[in-house]
C-alpha cells in the first residue's frame, strides 16, 4: 500500500470530524484513484507509461479482423507454414467460449457467443512467462511494462509456453525461411525486410511493437483498424488517455483475471 496505515487512519479521523460520518469518509478516501494507487503496486513503470490495449469487438467489421492480423504478421515476418503443427501466430481470433473459457453460459446472447474476439499477448502486469524463463530471454520492460522477447538469448526450452495461460506464444519448430514464406527463385520472400526473421528453435509472440512505439507510431494492428475504434492503444497510467476513458465508461473484461496475471488487454462487452 502506498498509503501508510497511520496516514489512512489520520485521514479517516479528519474526514469524520469534517464530514460527520465515518462511512462517508471511507467512501471518499477509497475513490477510484486511491484504490488504483494502492492495488497497482505490482508494477510501476519508470517513465509513467504502461501500455495497454482495449479491444472493442462490436466495432470490428469482418474485413478488419483479417486486415489487422495480416498487418501484424506482415510487419513482423510471421511465417505461415500452412499446417497447424508448425503454426506461428501473434494475433488471431477465437469465439467467446474459447477466448474467455468458463465465462459464458448456454443461454447467452447468441451474437456475443459467435462474435470473433481478437486475441494476442496480454502483456500481463505479472507475467507467468517472465517468471519461469531461465535466461531472462523474455522480460518485462521497466519503461513501459510491455513483455518482450530477446530471440538471441532464448534457448528454446518452451517453459514460457507451458506457463502462459493464454496460448499467446509460438515456437519456431523449423526454420521460418525454409517453408514459412513464399519462395521466388529458390529464395524466401520476406514481407518486411526492415524487421528480422527468427531462427528455428526460439519462441516468439506479440510484442506491442516496440520498434514502432520508439518512432511514435501505434502498433501495426491498431493502425490497420484506424478510425474505427475497434482497437485502442494507450497509456494506462495517464488518466486522460483514451484507454482509461473507455475503461472508466464501459463494461470491460480481461481474460482469466482469476489467475492474477492482470492482463493489459481489455475487452469491451456490449459496447
Amino acid at each position: 500500500m502506498s498509503m501508510q496505515r497511520r496516514d489512512f487512519l489520520k485521514l479517516l479521523g479528519v474526514s469524520t470530524l469534517v464530514g460527520g460520518t465515518g462511512g462517508g469518509a471511507l467512501f471518499n478516501v477509497l475513490k477510484p484513484g486511491a484504490v488504483e494507487a494502492s492495488s497497482g503496486a505490482g508494477f510501476k513503470s519508470t517513465s509513467g507509461k504502461t501500455w495497454a490495449m482495449v479491444v472493442d469487438t462490436g466495432k470490428f467489421t469482418p474485413d478488419q479482423y483479417r486486415k489487422c492480423i495480416k498487418a501484424c504478421h506482415r510487419e513482423h515476418n510471421v511465417p505461415d507454414f500452412g499446417n497447424p503443427k508448425d503454426e506461428i501466430k501473434w494475433i488471431w481470433t477465437d469465439d467467446f467460449e474459447h477466448s474467455f473459457p468458463g465465462a459464458g453460459h448456454e443461454f447467452m446472447d447468441e451474437e456475443l457467443e459467435t462474435l470473433p474476439f481478437v486475441l494476442m499477448c496480454n502483456h500481463c502486469e505479472k507475467p507467468a512467462c517472465v517468471r519461469v524463463c531461465p535466461t531472462q530471454a523474455t522480460f518485462k520492460r521497466a519503461s513501459d511494462g510491455i513483455v518482450v522477447m530477446d530471440p538471441h538469448r532464448c534457448i528454446g526450452c518452451r517453459f514460457c509456453m507451458a506457463a502462459c495461460p493464454f496460448g499467446a506464444r509460438s515456437f519456431n519448430w523449423r526454420d521460418p525461411r525454409k517453408g514459412g514464406f513464399p519462395m521466388v527463385n529458390g529464395k524466401p520472400v520476406i514481407p518486411n525486410p526492415e524487421y528480422p526473421t527468427r531462427t528455428k528453435g526460439v519462441v516468439e509472440k506479440c510484442t506491442f511493437c516496440p520498434e514502432r512505439l520508439a518512432v511514435g507510431k501505434e502498433p501495426a494492428c491498431v493502425e490497420a483498424t484506424e478510425g474505427s475504434g475497434a482497437l485502442v492503444f494507450g497509456n494506462l497510467e495517464d488518466k486522460r488517455s483514451e484507454v482509461r476513458r473507455i475503461l472508466a465508461h464501459n463494461y470491460t473484461i480481461q481474460r482469466k483475471p482469476e489467475l492474477g496475471t492482470n492482463p493489459r488487454v481489455f475487452y469491451v462487452i456490449g459496447g
Partner: protein, 386 residues
C-alpha cells in the same frame, strides 16, 4: 578401478556393442532433428512438451531411488543394504545423465544451453532444477566411486564423505520437489496446478526407482558371481509396496477433488486421459493399461507371502515400473497440455525420429549403468575371490 570396465567377457562386450548401436541410431536421428528443428517431433504449438520431457520427469524419479537405500543404510544402520547401496548410487548417476540428455535434446537452441548459467535467474524453477540435478549427479559420482574405492582397498571411506552422504538425502528429495515445481507452479494448467504434485512425484519415484533396482539386482545375480542377497530385495520390495500404495492413493485424491468439486476445468485433462475429450482419445488405452498394471502390481505386492517368490516380485516390479512410466511420463506431461488453455483439443503422438532419439538416450543411460555396474561387480567378485 576404471580398468575393470574394459576387461570383460564376450557377452559384456556384445551388450555394450548392442547399446552403442542403438545410441548411434539415436544420435543420427538427433543430427536430423538438430538440422531441421524440433518440428521433426510430434510436438506442436499446443502440446509443447512431449516424449523427451516425459522421460526426463520419470527419470528424475528413478534417480532418487538411491536415497531409499542410503536412508536405511546410513541413518538406520540397516547393514543388509551395504551390498547394494552402490547399485542405487550408480543407478542415480545413470538416470541423472539421461535426464540431462533429455533436456538437451528438447532444447530448440541447444548450443545456447550455457545461457542458463550466464544469466542465472533465481525466479525460474528451471534454473534451480539445473542446480539440483547437476549437484545430485556430482554427489552420487563422488560418493559411489569413493566408497567403492575404499571397499576395494579394504579401508573405511574417508571421513569427509559422511557429510556428503547425509547431504545427498535431502538433495534427492530436492530434485523431485524442484522438478514437481516445474509443473505445480504454473497458472492455468489444471492437471498440474496441485499442491500434492511434489508428494506424488516422491511417491511414484520411490516406487519406480527401487522397483528398477530390484530388477537390476536380479539381473546382476544372474550374470555375475555377485549376489545382492535375498533379504535386501525383500526389504526393497516392502519400500516399493508402500510407495506404490501412496502413489495410487495420491492419484485418487486428485480424482476426488476434480470430480466431487464438479469444477469442469479441473476435470478436463483427467477426462481426456481416461475417456477422451471431444472425440480425441489417443492416450485412453495407455492410461487404462497404467491403471490395470497398478492394480496388478498392488495385488502382487500386498497379498501376504506372494512377493517372497522372487519371480513374482520381479513381475510386480515390472508392472510398477511400466505403470508409473506411463502415468508420470506421457500421462502427466502430455495430459497437462490437453485441452489447451483455450479449452481446445490438440493431440500428440511422438514421431519415429523422436522415439529413436529417446531409445538412443536410454541406451546411453544403460551404457553408463553397465560400465559402472561392471566396475562395482568386478570389485566385489575380486573381494569375494580373495
Amino acid at each position: 578401478m576404471l580398468d575393470k570396465a574394459i576387461s570383460g567377457s564376450r557377452t559384456y562386450w556384445a551388450w555394450l556393442g548392442f547399446l552403442s548401436l542403438i545410441s548411434a541410431a539415436g544420435f543420427i536421428a538427433y543430427l536430423f532433428q538438430f538440422n531441421y528443428g524440433l518440428g521433426l517431433t510430434g510436438m506442436s504449438r499446443d502440446v509443447t512438451w512431449g516424449f523427451y520431457i516425459a522421460q526426463f520427469t520419470f527419470l528424475v524419479g528413478v534417480a532418487a531411488s538411491a536415497v531409499m537405500l542410503v536412508i536405511p543404510y546410513y541413518l538406520h544402520d540397516y547393514k543388509k543394504f551395504g551390498k547394494i547401496v552402490i547399485l542405487g548410487e550408480f543407478l542415480a548417476v545413470s538416470a541423472v545423465s539421461m535426464c540431462i540428455l533429455f533436456i538437451f535434446v528438447d532444447l530448440g537452441q541447444p548450443m545456447r544451453v550455457m545461457n542458463v548459467v550466464l544469466h542465472p535467474t533465481p525466479n525460474s524453477v528451471m534454473f534451480w532444477d539445473m542446480i539440483v540435478l547437476s549437484g545430485y549427479l556430482g554427489l552420487n559420482i563422488v560418493i559411489g566411486w569413493h566408497t567403492l574405492h575404499a571397499e576395494k582397498k579394504g579401508v573405511a571411506p574417508s571421513a569427509w564423505l559422511k557429510p556428503l552422504i547425509y547431504l545427498s538425502i535431502p538433495w534427492a528429495v530436492s530434485i523431485h520437489t524442484v522438478t514437481a515445481f516445474l509443473y505445480a507452479g504454473i497458472p492455468g494448467r489444471h492437471l498440474w496446478l496441485t499442491a500434492i504434485m511434489a508428494a506424488r512425484f516422491l511417491a511414484s519415484a520411490f516406487a519406480a526407482g527401487p522397483a528398477l533396482l530390484i530388477l537390476l539386482s536380479l539381473i546382476v545375480r544372474n550374470v555375475s558371481k555377485f549376489d545382492p542377497g535375498k533379504e535386501p530385495l525383500q526389504t526393497l520390495g516392502k519400500i516399493v509396496t508402500y510407495a506404490m500404495t501412496a502413489n495410487v492413493f495420491f492419484f485418487l485424491l486428485e480424482v476426488f477433488t476434480a470430480f466431487y468439486s464438479g469444477i469442469p476445468s479441473h476435470q478436463h485433462s483427467l477426462q481426456y486421459l481416461f475417456f477422451g475429450l471431444e472425440g480425441h482419445n489417443a492416450l485412453v488405452p495407455w492410461m487404462w493399461s497404467a491403471a490395470a498394471l497398478a492394480i496388478i502390481s498392488l495385488t502382487l505386492l500386498i497379498t501376504p507371502g506372494l512377493k517372497k517368490n522372487e519371480d513374482i516380485l520381479g513381475i510386480a516390479c515390472i508392472t510398477v515400473f511400466v505403470s508409473t512410466w506411463i502415468d508420470k511420463g506421457m500421462g502427466l506431461v502430455v495430459g497437462g497440455f490437453i485441452p489447451n488453455p483455450m479449452e481446445r483439443v490438440t493431440e500428440y503422438t511422438p514421431t519415429f525420429p523422436e522415439v529413436l532419439i529417446t531409445l538412443g538416450i536410454w541406451a546411453i543411460g544403460f551404457l553408463i549403468l553397465s560400465v559402472l555396474y561392471k566396475v562395482a561387480i568386478s570389485v566385489r567378485e575380486e573381494l569375494a575371490g580373495n
